[in-house]
Symmetry: D2
């Protein structure tokens, strides 16, 4: 059986990545993709990589898309769009995976503070599920609305969770020193994202505060059973894809076998790979795939845990995780459409 | 039905690319992969991108590989290796696709001049088939040995062929100005391929002669029905993957409808995409895929044809084309294992 | 003695490059730099690389700049700005170097056709000098207005000129296959220039016609003593800086000693380096410097000259050449401020 | 007055960088440059960027170099070379700046443990000066042997020093999360440094221990007046040049005005630029220059100091600092030869 899928806002990187990955999925058909600005343009004219597979698909006006006829709609839009359309779609029985932030923060006040807009549907927010399968797998299966995690939050939470759940670190002093490829900023014409600016360069950004901080802190607090102290420092690295999270946490139980802790926590997870002791993962080892890899370290002479995490920000950090959530929602194998190996070199 | 496959020399980029692509193939199992130097090492330890899919596969000594038990062996080796082992394998009924140059040049003397070694089996060379499916599809089906084309030769031949077959250009003055990503040089520790040397840089190389020149000239001469005059200028561009061929040929029949000529020539080809008039293809539109794209131009004020060709040097220019050839040899759908969309961005 | 310099439009790459290079110049002081949009901003706040040297310099409104008090004004602006202000400045005795195209094409009709605006001062255009010192050195010394050549035109003209002046090639069939780093497109927020678009990619562009074509053709025609046939194909390569021109011309006098021809033509030129026979220059060998390097080739088995040219598009292709022109205009050593070695790696 | 300089081992990146920078220096002449492997090769044939300035300079055998006739010799060699030649040169009155590690660690046992060789001249080591001008300026002036700091140690020490000297942080829990461009690994033919491996990638390395750890710890301990606890995590980022150090330290005096502390500490320093509050420096803002920039932060909701430091690993992290040390040793202006602005873009 094949179900119909809709994509709202398909002109960005998460949109084209959804199309790339869904083309490998055995059970879905992309029925409609919307773009107000580019209505009428064929997707394969904007993204020639899609030629031969999506030759019949063109962007349509949101109103013309009849999204309510779809079994599921992905929102690959700026923040604020999904929550405006959610009530109508849910009423029609359409399920939603929002790749933006509308359904990530459980506290509407927190959402408003960081995203500078009131939340349009706090009641739906309360019912929605945060789409991190490694934490919320069962809830996702039954969810009508899934808030797909941000790219940094996926890596940082999966990196810290085993430590917090086991209660072996001082949760007041967590540091997440993170590095992201440039596609994480989206397909936006901004000077600082130009090749001639971002290439052969490296810099921290968002040093006065980044929207992924409250999202990460929310997830860590749930795992820790109380608020955590977190420094989150994002940096821009001259790569197209990839997130690298270097995490530091002071151990309160220095005798813990961290390697065993992580291997046990993620045993059976199809998309979390705990690497052997001593490993230093690299981002290309997950490029274009939904796999996330973790290496666990204890720097010599310290009482710190150092956790290294890599993911592809557009796959496990966005479109791939969205499809993983869809697979759970429809009872398909969790890996459906997501089993391609990383592209190396 | 699943057949057993062997790979000789799997520690380079074409080897790991074969493993990546074969993992998506419905009808094959990699039975053995050889490396004298790295025997005993797990492939997933050398290439962590293969973890979770090839955890049981390790490099073995060539002698231990029992390659003759395989239905097909890919040689992803330096030049000279395949021809040394071909006779024994063919005698055992094993079919061969050589990704090196041993079975590309039909004239053993030409091989010896460019590769500085005598050909080990001229009789087998005579029986072997040059593995360019768009030219030799039927012969490939029945071949015991396929010489898989070089990366530049694939792009340049497919770019020029329609012009030569139609007899509409002056074949004495063909120019192929080509640009390649750095992976085309292989996974070799050479100073000029270092990131700090090749990045933020651009240069021609091989200006005194390149081994792909005779291979290209051989194919063009067959299409033209006689020798051609060819300038082939390879350049190194700071990208990992991708070949860009900018081809110039003087038209002798200026009224020719070039666009129609190309569309007709490649109609039905699963991996050649003739783009609409006015297009400028980019290498990322084929990244990690077996598709090759062509755009046809007539520069204003000239009697020249200008043909733009892009391919991924490791896929259509190497491992993907090898699998396409295997599919033909075993009567499988030509696109089996090769239907993933390009990775963009 | 120190003279006062003005820069109009200093927020782009040629503007910041002028500031970088002028800081090393012994005889000038930047008195004013204008930007309507960023008036009030310190240049070192926009470009932190300028901190500690230009801490007192801020962008001012054009009207406030009192440019007529400067001995020379550089226009690092979009096309059309310099010609609108030229008459007033020239009347005040201020000399002008325009880094845009207003004073490059001698034929106002040609300018209008390619730049879609009428020329504001054809009389000044007639008096202006095309600022290619290797061709117009004496005229530049006395010029009031210099039209600084484009980046591609500098490389292509200096590459072809010796052949044309000597009359040894068929001028109807010239091919310039050119590759440029991304900074050549300017500091403009455009999607196709984003790191995530331009990195790990290669493509031709401007395939329907590029504004540098008439500029190149104008210079070549002057050297050849009549119109030339020229194909000019620009490509974008994932490097910040650098132009690589691969030039092809059919020899009509195949016995010509091309190496000697070039060495003689450019003997004594401070910024043209004719490399030894067999060389393949790379763009990094001129990075951040005003040097242009040329290698001369005769591909085997052909009657073609193949000329390889490298320059830094922002230096010899823009700001450096502008300073070289200024040095000539003021009787200073031609290399003043331009003697730093290229940055490698 | 011009003095004669010798360079031992000039075929790596620090060697060519010394030549680039020394070409701008008013008071030195490179008399000899040695390379056993490349004796007889002109430096400009190996590095065409040096053409026109060093056309007469060729690598010579160490014995033929008559280094003892030079006033100063730079060692741009692997570890172990300088200490083997130091005694003879010092005896001859020649002064030494070693860009390798032979004279960095004051404890010979520590040197032996990390560099796997005994120290050849502990007595000279005891007299040598660690060449960090911002700490040891006066001692450097009189030094016969200067151990030039490593690239990471320069950035990390200058970043932490004001905090340690002021005693405002808990020195048991210092974290240095560092990122380096690929040139930091040197001009060595290693697979992991290839463009096709290091490009579009990001990874930690040296996770089991890095030789710069004891060097950093030594300097921090001196400033702190006792041993410090330090985690040092180096990462490789796909840039040619640049080091980015993100430093974390727990404040014990949360009321400290960190910005004022840093501005005061580095007031008057020609090559340390304390940026305004809220800044996020980028590596390109120091590319090819000897400037190091620092930004001081207090992440919200924490009692941490977060210090961001950028430098060019080949300049302030190697060759530039070596020249700065030479300037001190000979009583020249500290900025002689080092006043070029960073190259941006």
């Amino acid at each position: 059986m094949t179900i119909d899928i809709g994509i709202v806002g398909g002109t960005g990187y998460t949109g084209v990545e959804l199309l790339r990955l869904l083309a490998q999925h055995p059970s879905v058909r992309v029925r409609a993709i919307t773009s107000r600005k580019d209505a009428g343009t064929k997707v394969a004219d904007m993204f020639p990589s899609l030629r031969r597979r999506y030759d019949g698909l063109a962007f349509v006006e949101p109103d013309a898309a009849r999204l309510a006829d779809c079994a599921l709609v992905f929102f690959a839009t700026p923040h604020g769009v999904a929550m405006a359309q959610a009530r109508e779609l849910v009423a029609a029985g359409t399920r939603i995976v929002d790749l933006a932030a509308d359904f990530r923060l459980k506290d509407p006040a927190l959402f408003e503070r960081w995203y500078k807009m009131p939340h349009a549907c706090p009641d739906l927010l309360a019912q929605s599920v945060y789409g991190l399968p490694e934490v919320n797998r069962e809830a996702i299966r039954g969810a009508r609305i899934v808030g797909n995690p941000g790219c940094y939050p996926t890596a940082v939470q999966l990196g810290f969770l085993p430590l917090l759940e086991a209660g072996v670190v001082d949760t007041r002093h967590l540091i997440a020193d993170c590095k992201s490829g440039v596609s994480g900023a989206g397909r936006k014409a901004e000077v600082n994202l130009l090749f001639a600016e971002a290439s052969d360069n490296f810099a921290a950004y968002g040093v006065r505060g980044h929207r992924h901080h409250p999202e990460i802190a929310q997830g860590l607090a749930l795992a820790a059973g109380g608020p955590v102290g977190l420094v989150f420092t994002p940096h821009l690295t001259p790569a197209i894809r990839g997130i690298y999270a270097t995490l530091y946490a002071p151990l309160v139980c220095p005798d813990t076998d961290l390697q065993a802790l992580y291997e046990k926590r993620y045993a059976g997870e199809p998309f979390v790979d705990v690497m052997p002791p001593g490993s230093a993962p690299d981002t290309r080892s997950v490029r274009a795939s939904n796999m996330l890899r973790i290496a666990v370290h204890r720097p010599a002479g310290t009482d710190l845990a150092m956790i290294l995490v890599v993911e592809d920000n557009l796959v496990k950090g966005a479109a791939g995780q969205a499809i993983q959530n869809m697979n759970l929602m429809f009872g398909w194998p969790e890996t459906a459409g997501l089993d391609a190996l990383p592209v190396l070199p």
